[in-house]
């Protein structure tokens, strides 16, 4: 082990001995690293892939996961389904909460540093409307219960509000709300009305 890593490990251990909650979190994370290896066995895994909590991975195509991707656990399992001939790509440092369902029949690409909240569904096929590749940019935040429909492209840095159903392309830097999702520029979101 390189020197810096050893010192960091000792620091973590010391803190774990002092703080029981931290120790529990550390143990859960370590278990998550270990579980991720058999769970994502057929996939192209990056480093430090972590999967705490129940998950289902059905990979019959090509699943590419970046470094430091984390699937947080919860009471409802998440699932990653990749059909034959499909590509499912998840960028580095993306995090996923419980109950997330990502299904690729052709192509689903999620950029780096995305935050995908609980019960989000991302699929590129399966509804009666259309099929088409789904591309989610970098630094996108999908809040609880968001639904990304097939053929949709979400721009970098955008926020998909809770419960939003995204059926059209979302430009970068906007907040998308509602069903069907309408968007407003992020700088304007949450501002009090003038006067």
């Amino acid at each position: 082990m390189p020197e810096g890593a050893r010192e960091r490990a000792l620091r973590l251990l010391a803190r774990g001995l002092r703080d029981r909650t931290f120790a529990a979190q550390l143990a859960q994370r370590a278990l998550g690293f270990a579980r991720a290896v058999p769970l994502f066995w057929g996939c192209e895994r990056g480093r430090r892939l972590c999967a705490t909590g129940p998950m289902r991975v059905a990979n019959r195509g090509r699943v590419v996961l970046g470094d430091r991707v984390t699937f947080f656990g919860g009471m409802i399992p998440s699932e990653i389904v990749c059909h034959p001939g499909a590509l499912l790509e998840i960028g580095e440092e993306s995090t996923f909460n419980y109950g997330v369902s990502i299904e690729a029949a052709e192509s689903v690409r999620i950029g780096p540093r995305c935050m995908v909240a609980s019960m989000v569904r991302i699929a590129d096929a399966g509804g009666p409307w259309r099929r088409g590749p789904v591309v989610i940019g970098a630094d996108v935040w999908l809040a609880h219960g968001a639904l990304v429909e097939p053929g949709v492209s979400v721009g970098d840095g955008s926020v998909i509000a809770a419960g939003a159903v995204v059926s059209c392309d979302v430009p970068p830097g906007v907040l998308a709300i509602g069903n069907p999702a309408r968007w407003m520029r992020l700088e304007m979101a949450g501002r009090k009305r003038a006067g």
Binding site: M75, I76, D139, A161, A162, G163, L186, E187, A189
Partner: protein, 176 residues
Amino acid sequence: MIATALEWWTRLRLWRCAAVGAAPRLWGRVWIHGGGWVFVGDGVELDGRFAPIELHAEPGGAIVLGDGVRIESGASIEAQQRVILEAGCRVGRFAKILDNHFHPVRGRRAERPASVPVRLRAYSELGPRAIVLPGADIGEGARVGAGVVVSRRVRRGAVLGNSHPPPSFVAGEGHA
């Protein structure tokens, strides 16, 4: 005797709650975690048979379930500060109640914004997959429909959500 054994078993499964009232009913799984306080009133029904119910109160936070509250499978309540369900509230399947967005819309996403307490007043109902966001105050007897997102005050007795099908669908006909 069986009834008391069942209640004893229910109270055992609710051991993480700070206080549990009379005659609690619990089916299936409830996941109570986070270190905060969960107060359960009299006659509360928690039906976690189809999917577990989550009651997550962070340290310093509190979830208060009033008398006769009924929570369906898969529902999740997360309190960083305060989530109060008054008497007779019903929470539908897979509904979500949050009192903190956890991330700001603008600014650094890693910084947790302030919590805003959430209150469901007496006999209000949340439909399945409804989402209640920080600052929501659902009035007495209000009914929130399936999948509706609430983030503000809801007038007492209001009915939110679609109760009629859209006009392009005619009952009895299929569509291509």
